[in-house]
Amino acid sequence: MKKLINRPQDVVQDALAGVAAAHGDRLKVHTAPDSIVRADAPLRGKVAIVSGGGSGHEPLHGGFVGRGMLDAACPGQIFTSPTPDQVLAATRAVDGGAGVLLIVKNYTGDVMNFEMAADLARDEGIVVESVVIDDDVALQDGRHTAGRRGVGATVLAEKICGAAAERRRPLAEVAELCRKVNAGARSMGVALTSCTVPMVGKPTLELGPDEIEFGVGIHGEPGRERRPAASAHDIVAALATAIVDDLPFGRGDRVLAFVNGLGGTPLLELYVVYNELHTLLASRGIVIARNLVGSYMTALDMAGCSITLLRLDDELAALWDAPVVTTGLRWGA
């Protein structure tokens, strides 16, 4: 294992110290329990938005803390959900009296830890709503599993809800928007190589040199099937078809197309993917009205990508376009 780290068990703490050193002017970094909080929080009368999850997906979630997006992020250990006391401390720190929305990705650990945190916060009189994101179409049968995983739609939900909160929309409406984004978004990913968790020191997924994992999760958990490596054209066709058929998206739909790198794939290849996606959607009469291309929700050093499509209406498009000032996304300000 070659990584730019010191001791494997210190990676998260060392990185948080780096975030504090780099962005201390706009972000407050707390440790024990760990959180990254907007420097100007709490904002009176604004719904606060808190998210979090295991580390290793950067810039998600800490890179999305700032004006127009999250008020706080709770980083867990690598690929391990944050603990309830972390989420509770962050919730307390950002509550400006208008309530707090917790955006949770649908993984067993995340759901339970955030549930416990929400219970504790409510005991303290903080008004909390919680929305679980589950947009991954790789898992076709949700009844006999922990349910579909929360992936790319999380980034879109955090951006759109953050903009709504900035406009002083009330908690119930911001939560409803979050559910709307989740309901209108579908994603799927593919891994070309495994990631390596520093504390484990070897690849999580055993992928041969000519194999790809279709429908991979963002922790290297297996997906739909193992396939032989293929061209970007064929891979995008398979991913996009699974996504489009699932919602389904149809002729005349306006969408936000999000091509996301998983950490080990160059931007050059992501644009090759975007080009294939653009052509394929055009042939089906689906209009890309907004796009996002880059590595925003990663799986450490995994090579591969995910595609997320979100059905847009004027409200969602306007909230997407609203100003955002974070280390991960920044425009309009």
């Binding site: 250990q77 006391d85 067993t108 549930e115 006999h144 599993t145 484990v200 999580t204 958990e221």
Partner: protein, 238 residues
């Protein structure tokens, strides 16, 4: 410090095994579990790598190290011995909740917290009290994770263990024998997870591919019950 040192409480002078569980016994149990988790850390992580995300041993070790730290801190303050059994179980539960993360943190944390609530203020618990407390803890963990038997989770080891302990208490077994039977039931439950298809947690994403692997959560739960069988009846009265 050995488990026996920790488990030794004020005796009745008869030289017989004590039939009650004290705070000292809980400390001995947690030290034995921490040692087992540290010993089997890589094994737990390898089981998790096969069907999960390869961090179960790491997370459990981090949590139990935090528990040991908390126990040592209480010891340094002279607060380890006094007080109720329930309070100590809750302290352990809160420590796990705030240090493990993942799914195991809330599940083991809830198990210990609910055991603590059921144990109440008593400074000594009989086998029947202890069996009721374990049953309450297991139901708490089951409610938190919404898992059923045969979903291939820790519940598959915990439920039979709690049932065996209650059956042992009802049929008048000694504490030591009841704990042994409880640990044996946990082991059978753990081994029975091998052919199951997971329906909860990250292993469920694998569908049929999860069959043929022993569940890591059921394995750490067996370690917990096995630690109880080895550490708790070690409290030989002097």
């Amino acid at each position: 410090m050995t488990a026996a040192d920790q488990g030794t409480g004020p005796g009745d002078g008869s030289g017989a095994r004590r039939e009650a569980i004290t705070r000292g016994d809980v400390v001995a149990w947690m030290r034995a579990f921490a040692a087992a988790v540290a010993r089997d850390r890589d094994h737990l992580t390898e089981l998790d790598a096969a069907i999960g995300d390869a961090d179960h041993g790491i997370n459990m070790e981090r949590g139990m190290q935090a528990v040991l730290g908390r126990l040592d801190a209480l010891d340094a303050l002279g607060e380890l011995a006094g007080g109720g059994v329930g309070e100590l179980l809750k302290t352990v539960g809160m420590t796990l909740v705030s240090s493990v993360g993942g799914a195991a943190g809330p599940l083991y944390g809830t198990l210990l917290l609910q055991m603590g609530s059921a144990a109440g203020q008593a400074s000594e618990l009989t086998l029947a009290d202890w069996a009721s407390a374990l049953a309450a803890g297991v139901s708490g963990a089951q409610a938190r994770g919404k898992a059923e038997l045969a979903d291939k989770t820790m519940i598959d080891a915990l439920v039979p263990a709690a049932e065996a302990l209650q059956a042992g208490a009802a049929s008048g077994l000694s504490l030591a024998e009841a704990l042994r039977q409880s640990a044996a039931a946990a082991q059978r439950g753990m081994e029975a997870t091998v052919p199951l298809v997971a329906r909860k947690g990250r292993a469920s994403y694998l569908g049929e591919r999860s069959a043929g692997h022993q569940d890591p959560g059921a394995t750490s739960s067996w370690l917990l019950l096995h630690a109880a069988a080895t550490a708790l009846p070690a409290g030989l009265a002097p």
